[in-house]
């Protein structure tokens, strides 16, 4: 227990854990947000011709993923990184829910 505590306290280990968490967030969170955003855009964008919405949704999804990844590493703390993904994800989810109704 004591060693463990010291390990976590040591800056290099804390840095590594932090980087690991952020990497996971970037990989899965970024992609997840892209998938969710694409779903919302494809169903919700106001196009008469639905395939246009799909095409645009796909393009926006990749931009979304990029911004998410950059954000995850740019955010000052892991908490803010998570929030930066969670808030838009919640908004997209809400949008999808509204669309379904």
């Amino acid at each position: 227990m004591k060693t463990q505590a010291r390990l976590i306290a040591s800056p290099s280990v804390r840095h590594r854990i932090n980087v690991g968490v952020r990497t996971g967030l970037a990989a899965f969170g970024g992609y997840g947000l892209a998938l969710l955003g694409a779903a919302a855009f494809a169903a919700g964008l106001p196009f008469d011709f639905r395939p246009d919405a799909v095409s645009l949704a796909i393009m926006l999804a990749f931009v979304l993923q990029l911004v998410a990844i950059i954000w995850v590493f740019a955010a000052a703390t892991v908490t803010r990184a998570v929030l930066g993904l969670a808030v838009p994800a919640a908004l997209f989810g809400l949008w999808l829910l509204l669309l379904r109704q």
Partner: protein, 684 residues
């Protein structure tokens, strides 16, 4: 050093992100960039790799032996629903013949095909007119056949090279079948999954001869992957039969995947399930995208250092080279990366279609294709002779278009029927925003009277954007200038990645101690750099050599050309691991340089049209290939020479008088435009 658990400037975190997203898949990205860049000239490469065809000479339509060509089609594919003649063009001087089976039961196997060449028969069987049986055999999902939609017979009747082209079907987005991620998308599946393709052809879309028609055969490549032998099929542009345009004699090109190997490698790698390959490439592309944008954020003096390149200053020069090759072609890098992602869009982001259509992919593709009204005429069942004066029709069409527009291909639907239609398609896409609509004129096949022009399809803005991304990525242009610009930009991108990779080791080596430099991680990066950069060049050169050294008649020779590439690459990796890094760099660069520089000689010695001959006859694509080989060879040899002469600064660091620090000419630029990879700072 960047510690992520403490407050740090944005540029520091972006620098970390840039370093690692660039390094982690950098070697793969370099290979993708190099093979992708070469793919801009894959038609030329395929043509070069079939020296049997070199002596064909592009001639104007009135000199083409249409009578013989039509007679040959009549003999080889009498019941076909459609014949296609691909006219000689600057990127392929031969006349290509292809056909599709009738939609009904009256399919005709190509009689002469199977006996021609043993190595080809299987591929031909697959690509042949009677595709359904053979396709069902090789597909794991034979039941799919029952889900056939109208219009699919057509797609299926196409030769494999066209069927497999991943972007062929759905017009602009280059849509992947959404469910293709779950299943192996074999050609006939692909046809089902992408219903758009059937009428993409019917509407006259996919017909730019030298562009949309992969040369040689993708079928060959795939057949090879599955150990089926069978190479380039008919040789040119997916045509089944290649003719000398003047004499009408049949030309038998050697079995080769040609430029299609490099082309397919750049987006689905090799030797694995293609879906896996595409996912790996897609993920690498995301890394590239992240590395590009984080690099821009990091590089705060982007305008001040715009033209800055200082040679002979060690690490500084590498940084300058990396910045210059990145920044000066930044629009290209961003577009090519983003369009690459969008081309994988339906595969990587399946939720878009799922959500918009509640999982009903067929509905999506149905909606996609609705606007493309296809006017496939019906056969009357009454026989009537086809007119023979194709050249006159072509002249008429070119007159109607004016402005130097040329006919690229002739598509004859229901040949021999009273309702036969001759469609003359333009050689090139008229612009980037029009999707894959290619203008065409239709004539009655019996009387020759004009039946009108293809209606240009209205494109929405989103479609136009998708079309621009798609066509730019793939370099669909009428004239060579834009293709060369894309090629050169691609070279710039390869240099960007290579300089970035090299910089990682240089930046690290300079400041770290001897112990850290021999650290296994450092050594690993070094070895991979050598094998991925210099080794890849050598492997590509050896691929071209293998094309000429493997006997033309050998069975499965097309496979062996590809095996030679990978064996050579593996040897380079082992070599890089065994030799000291500088020696390995020099030897591999020199090896690649010599092999490239000697390619023109090899071409002359192994049956190809030699450089003086190709210049005299104006066969520009061969001149271009040989000159490119010479220039690449010279460049690689120069690089080898520079590395050889290079005195590593690391060792000099012990003697302060000749060391790099402090910079003798600090100037305003001593503050680095881009912080160096923080790993070295950490190690310091």
């Amino acid at each position: 050093m960047t510690t992520f658990d403490q407050p740090r400037p944005l540029r520091q975190s972006m620098s970390w992100l840039h370093t690692w997203s660039g390094l982690l898949l950098g070697w793969l990205l370099f290979a993708i960039f190099v093979t992708g860049t070469l793919s801009y000239f894959r038609n030329e490469i395929t043509f070069w790799m079939q020296p049997e065809l070199h002596r064909a000479q592009a001639v104007p339509p009135e000199q083409i032996a249409f009578v013989r060509a039509l007679a040959l089609l009549e003999r080889e594919a009498p019941g076909a629903q459609q014949w296609t003649l691909t006219l000689p063009n600057p990127r392929n001087p031969t006349l290509g013949l292809g056909w599709q089976a009738a939609m009904g039961g009256e399919r005709q196997a190509a009689p002469g095909a199977a006996r021609e060449r043993p190595g080809r028969s299987e591929a031909r069987g697959e690509r042949g007119a009677s595709a359904p049986d053979s396709a069902a055999e090789r597909r794991p999902f034979p039941a799919d056949a029952s889900r056939e939609r109208p219009g699919r017979g057509e797609a299926r009747g196409e030769d494999g090279a066209r069927r497999e082209s991943p972007w062929r079907g759905s017009g602009e987005g280059g849509a992947f079948a959404p469910d293709s991620a779950e299943r192996r998308s074999f050609p006939a599946d692909a046809a089902r999954e992408r219903p758009g393709r059937g009428e993409a052809r019917g509407a006259g879309n996919a017909s730019a001869p030298q562009e949309t028609r992969p040369q040689g055969s993708g079928a060959g490549a795939q057949a090879q992957r599955q150990g089926r032998g069978g190479g380039g099929g008919g040789g040119g542009r997916g045509a089944r039969i290649v003719l000398d345009p003047v004499s009408g004699d049949r030309l038998e090109g050697r079995a080769t995947a040609g430029g299609n190997f490099l082309y397919r490698f750049h987006f689905e790698l090799y030797g694995m399930d293609r879906i896996w390959g595409r996912w790996i490439v897609g993920i690498a592309t995301v890394f590239m995208f992240v590395a590009l944008v984080s690099g821009v954020i990091v590089h705060r003096r982007i305008f001040k250092d715009f033209f800055t390149f200082r040679s002979g200053k060690g690490k500084r020069s590498w940084l300058d080279a990396h910045n210059a090759s990145s920044v000066l072609s930044l629009p290209f890098h961003l577009i090519i990366t983003f369009s690459g992602l969008v081309l994988f869009g339906h595969m990587m982001i399946p939720t878009a279609v799922q959500s918009a259509y509640q999982g009903d992919n067929e509905a999506y593709y149905g909606a996609m294709r609705a606007p493309m009204a296809s006017a496939v005429s019906q056969a009357s069942g009454e026989r009537a002779p086809l007119i023979t004066g194709l050249a006159a029709l072509i002249a008429e069409a070119e007159n109607t278009w004016g402005d130097g527009k040329r006919v690229g291909s002739v598509v004859i639907t229901h040949p021999g029927d009273r309702n036969a239609v001759i469609e003359l398609r333009q050689m090139n896409f008229p612009g980037l925003t029009g999707g894959r609509n290619i203008p065409s004129l239709r004539f009655s096949g019996v009387t020759g009277e004009p039946l009108g022009a293809s209606a240009p399809r209205e494109q929405s803005i989103v479609q136009a954007v998708g079309s621009v991304l798609n066509l730019l990525h793939r370099g669909f242009f009428a004239t060579p200038a834009p293709r060369w610009l894309l090629f050169l930009s691609g070279v710039g991108g390869a240099l960007m990645i290579a300089s970035g990779l090299v910089m990682w080791t240089i930046a690290r080596a300079r400041k770290t101690s001897e112990a850290a430099r021999t650290h296994w991680g450092h050594r690993l990066v070094e070895v991979l750099n050598i094998a991925a950069i210099a080794g890849l060049m050598a492997a590509i050169a050896i691929h071209f050599w293998a094309n000429r050294l493997i006997p033309a008649g050998l069975s499965a020779r097309a496979d062996w050309e590809i095996h030679a590439f990978f064996i050579a690459w593996a040897v380079m990796l082992v070599h890089a691991a065994l030799r000291r890094s500088k020696a390995a760099w020099v030897e591999q660069l020199a090896c690649a340089g010599v092999l490239f520089a000697l390619l023109p000689l090899l071409n002359a010695a192994s049956g190809g049209l030699a450089l003086p001959g190709s210049i005299a006859r104006g066969t520009g694509l061969l001149v271009g290939f040989d000159l490119c080989a010479l220039v690449s060879g010279a460049g690689l040899l120069f690089a080898a020479y520079k590395v050889h002469r290079h005195v590593p600064r690391v060792r000099l660091a012990s003697s302060p008088s000749r060391g790099e620090e402090p910079d003798p000419d600090p100037g305003p630029e001593t503050e680095p435009g881009m912080p160096l990879p923080e790993t070295m700072e950490k190690a310091a």
